[in-house]
């Protein structure tokens, strides 16, 4: 019902369109991780090359396991550099190369490192490399495809994707369809260091997107993603604790609870549905406002909503200040419980699959404007209702030549 009302509300937007041209730094259909780059916006002129780099830092404190899962210290620190090289070789062809690396340090790694063969986290060192190619079929139609992969201690992934976009000049809009697939392999190393046979995790997703200029000062985009996953969908090193007052205190648990750990077991299939959109409107010569929202549902019982307003202000000299907020709420998976006293067939205590709300505030400052070199810094803080607050910082640089 909510979504039907959303559809009617959007249909009331005044229909006046124009199609802006300009460099594309990644719109919603350009999920840089693996999806193909499509959309109404161009990638610069023929011969233009852009090199973008970012160093991200993420920190979450959960000393003693006081927040989230009470049996687990979920302290986590991640350092992630990302590099994107993009070249518009000619009017009809362009390509990009994306490289990313994660270095994860966490209490879980330290906790589990005492077990032979278990590094702790599937992301203690992550390396990802993706290649994307785009071709212009006509003045209005573009096709693109992508191939890539990633490796971690106990996880490997191969991804492919393709997309098609068409511009409706008379409507100043564009329609894009993206398809992505991942063929992943999970080395099942359990929380106690025991191993099982490798398992597959297969994922396919389709995204339909619509970009629209609404009036001379407003443009936006809306999309729908449907995805399906099958195979081993849990986190191998996760455990659930079954409490029993008759058990002795368990030193492996953050709170030394009287309980025994068992493996996490989740369904071997998952279907997701996501409706999302955002619109940006110029409020004045130096100010713009963006509103974004997303609605999510899956067959694990998780429903989620988020709302993201963003206010931008351009300073003299081209510097840009971006202040943003994000409210997020989700329900718990059907098989999630903060505590177990029995052992059901499907079970998880992963706090990321529980019910919680979060509020994020952040700011970004960029300078260099439309010049060939642009720097940016951003700081975000997220307050989560289960206590797993975190903050993240990033420093970015972009050069066009």
């Amino acid at each position: 019902m909510l979504l039907a009302r959303l559809g009617f509300a959007l249909a009331l937007v005044p229909p006046a369109w124009a199609l802006p041209q300009g460099p594309d730094d990644g719109g919603f259909v350009n999920a840089p991780l693996t999806s193909t780059q499509l959309g109404a916006k161009g990638h610069g002129e023929a011969g233009q090359t852009t090199w973008s780099a970012l160093l991200g830092y993420y920190d979450r404190d959960d000393a003693g396991g006081a927040s989230g899962n009470p049996f687990l210290d979920e302290t986590l620190t991640v350092i992630e550099p990302v590099y994107i090289y993009d070249s518009q070789v000619s009017e009809d062809f362009g390509y990009d190369i994306q490289f990313s690396y994660d270095r994860v340090s966490s209490a879980s790694i330290e906790r589990l490192s005492k077990f032979d063969g278990q590094s702790g986290a599937t992301g203690d060192n992550y390396l990802g490399l993706d290649f994307g190619f785009r071709h212009k079929l006509s003045d209005a139609t573009n096709v693109s495809w992508r191939v890539g992969g990633s490796v971690e201690y106990d996880y490997t992934s191969i991804g492919v994707g393709g997309g098609l976009s068409h511009t409706f000049e008379e409507a100043d809009a564009s329609l894009a369809l993206n398809l992505d697939a991942f063929l992943d392999t999970v080395e099942v190393i359990r929380f106690d260091g025991s191993t099982e046979a490798d398992e597959n995790r297969n994922s396919v997703a389709a995204t339909l997107g619509w970009y629209q200029v609404i009036d001379p000062k407003t443009h936006g985009e809306i999309g729908l993603t449907v995805s399906s996953q099958s195979g081993f969908l849990g986190t191998p090193y996760n455990a659930v604790v079954v409490l029993n007052p008759g058990d002795p205190p368990n030193p492996n648990l953050a709170n030394n609870a009287n309980g025994t750990e068992f493996t996490e077991e989740v369904p071997d299939s998952r279907t997701r549905l996501t409706l999302f959109g955002r619109a940006r409107r110029r409020l004045g010569a130096q100010t713009a406002l963006e509103l974004g929202a997303r609605v999510y549902d899956d067959d694990w019982g998780i429903q989620a909503y988020d709302f993201s307003p963003r206010l931008l202000y351009q300073l003299a000299g081209g510097s840009l200040i971006d202040v943003h907020y994000r409210f997020y709420t989700q329900t718990a998976a059907d098989f999630f419980a903060p505590e177990f006293t029995a052992l059901p067939a499907e079970r998880t205590q992963d706090s990321d699959l529980g019910d919680f709300d979060s509020n994020l505030i952040g700011a970004q400052y960029s300078w260099g404007g439309a010049a060939s070199n642009t720097w940016s810094v951003a700081l975000d803080f997220l307050d989560r209702s289960d206590g797993l607050d975190h903050w993240f910082f990033s420093l970015g640089y972009k050069k066009s030549f």
Partner: protein
Amino acid sequence: MHMRRTKTMGSRLAWALLFCLPASCNTVDFYQKGSLQGPLMEIGGFAPRGKFRSKVHYSTEGSAGGLSTTAGGGCGCY
């Protein structure tokens, strides 16, 4: 039960999107397009930051998909 709910929700989403498509078109003249240009109006922004932020969110939340994200697969995060 949840598959049925997802299927019903999918139908509703499809109809909602259909109503979102414009029924009439009025183009904006070329001289009016200037307001939509430039970093101030660029939707999406800096791609590497979108990638980093998206990974932070989908690695720490139960949902995935949407703006600048994949919807499952590609890493052990989710």
